[in-house]
Symmetry: C2
Subunit: 241 residues, 2 copies
DNA sequence: TTGACATAGTTGCACATAACAACTTAGTAA
DNA sequence: TTACTAAGTTGTTATGTGCAACTATGTCAA
């Protein structure tokens, strides 16, 4: 916290920004949203893809999370996704314009919910499939490393929390839930074990109705506590490598 | 990241600070280091206890972690402790002097290693025992909440990583290791289970020598990879509550 | 109407590991 | 030499997961 004898205004401050890593599942694959950097003269990393974000507006944003939510809504139209702080990155070298610190959030949401704000199509946006620990492309600033951290965090939390459930709409079948876990984890998940763990962890409760298709109808479920993550007591790992 | 048409200097920036939550074990109890706020006229929260920290100095600090290390060394004299980013807190209201964002780190270190820098005794410092999820005292700024988050994170990581090992000096006995785990977790830890887990996780390796006392001498061990946390495959929980 | 198909959902066994408790070992000190 | 203390080991039990085979219940085409 601020030291005493300084007049707070006295010395130069870093720039403060917020970036958001936005994940969704499209066509059975994890995707992340990126925006194209402008190509102006004084712009750093012109034309490169970057995480959506920008300066904190101390007039508009009452706190960091509000700022992240604003940026998220701008790009996706979604107002209340799962949003969690990922960390912060700050250094003299990460932006050629000077010392900056960025506060990074990550959000995950169902693809069906996305409707980008038509007013804010100034910048080009794109969804990129996640392969391995990145997207196989160098991003602007230190965003390659930030994205890698986000992917690691997402995968890691999928091992022991209900996180991937936020990739689905309000009601879903257990098979759909199992499927998004498998997509995020990047490996198959055993049906029987998954069901018993999910049910005994109290992660979901039955919803009215079933989902019909070309086979046996499936019971619909919803998250029991949609506001918070639910934790599993143990992880599910394949027995042999 | 910075948006395009703005000249970066154009609009007002938040203050940027770094705070550090420093944990150690003294007398079989977890303690946290706090500093007393100055009592000047224009000072916020005069005389209250707060986490050590201060403004980022963009001349001196090449990045956020360097800034945190500097503040840590100032208060404890320790140069390379276990240091991890906890998160960031930023809002218009957390400091009466204006919009600030703080990047918070947490460090844990052996009590024996602490020798506060004699040059920087300007501010009064104190070690406070952690009881439950705090220290039973209201802190300056939003530091009460930040400390609570740090304690939760520390406890949580003690369930499945080698984190508490950094409370000990380089070599230690398995009983000492078990003891710091029990102190951090706030509950007894089974001896036999602890030993097999620690050894099979490859957390430690034998060091030369034994620790003698009034009973059977104990083998000394050291961390196998002191630079990184080691993860346990599972948690250790008591069977019945 | 019926039988093939597909996916939902269940059951049962094998195996690994953790919790618990009782035990043995190896030193000190009176 | 014996009591004491803490280190370190062993064995038993309970639990839960991985795996695989099985049953249930719908659609759809012949």
């Amino acid at each position: 916290m601020p030291k005493s004898p300084h007049s707070s205004q006295a010395f130069p401050r870093p720039f403060t920004t917020v970036d958001v890593v936005i994940f969704t599942v499209i066509d059975d694959q994890l995707h992340v949203l990126l925006v194209k950097r402008p190509t102006g003269e004084a712009e750093p990393y012109p034309g490169m893809w970057a995480l959506p974000g920008g300066y904190v507006d101390i007039e508009r944003d009452k706190d960091l999370e509000a700022c992240a939510l604003h940026k998220l809504q701008e790009k996706t139209g979604v107002k209340s996704p799962y949003l969690e702080q990922l960390g912060s990155w700050g250094s003299a070298s990460r932006d050629p314009r000077g010392w900056t610190a960025t506060h990074v959030y990550f959000a995950i949401l169902p693809h069906a919910a996305i409707k980008p704000d038509p007013d804010s199509h100034a910048t080009e946006i794109g969804w990129f499939p996640v392969k391995g620990d990145g997207i196989g492309r160098k991003l602007a600033f230190d965003h390659t490393a930030i994205l890698e951290t986000a992917i690691t965090r997402l995968r890691s939390k999928a091992e022991y929390t209900s996180l991937p459930a936020y990739l689905l709409t309000e009601t879903f079948t257990l098979s759909e839930l199992q499927h998004v876990f498998a997509v995020v984890l990047g490996r198959p998940v055993d049906k029987s074990g998954f069901r018993t763990r999910v049910l005994s962890a109290g992660l979901v409760e039955e919803a009215d109705g079933v989902k019909t298709g070309a086979s046996r109808p499936a019971q619909l479920y919803r998250l029991k506590s949609p506001k918070n993550l639910t934790f599993f007591p143990r992880t599910f790992n394949p027995r042999k490598e």
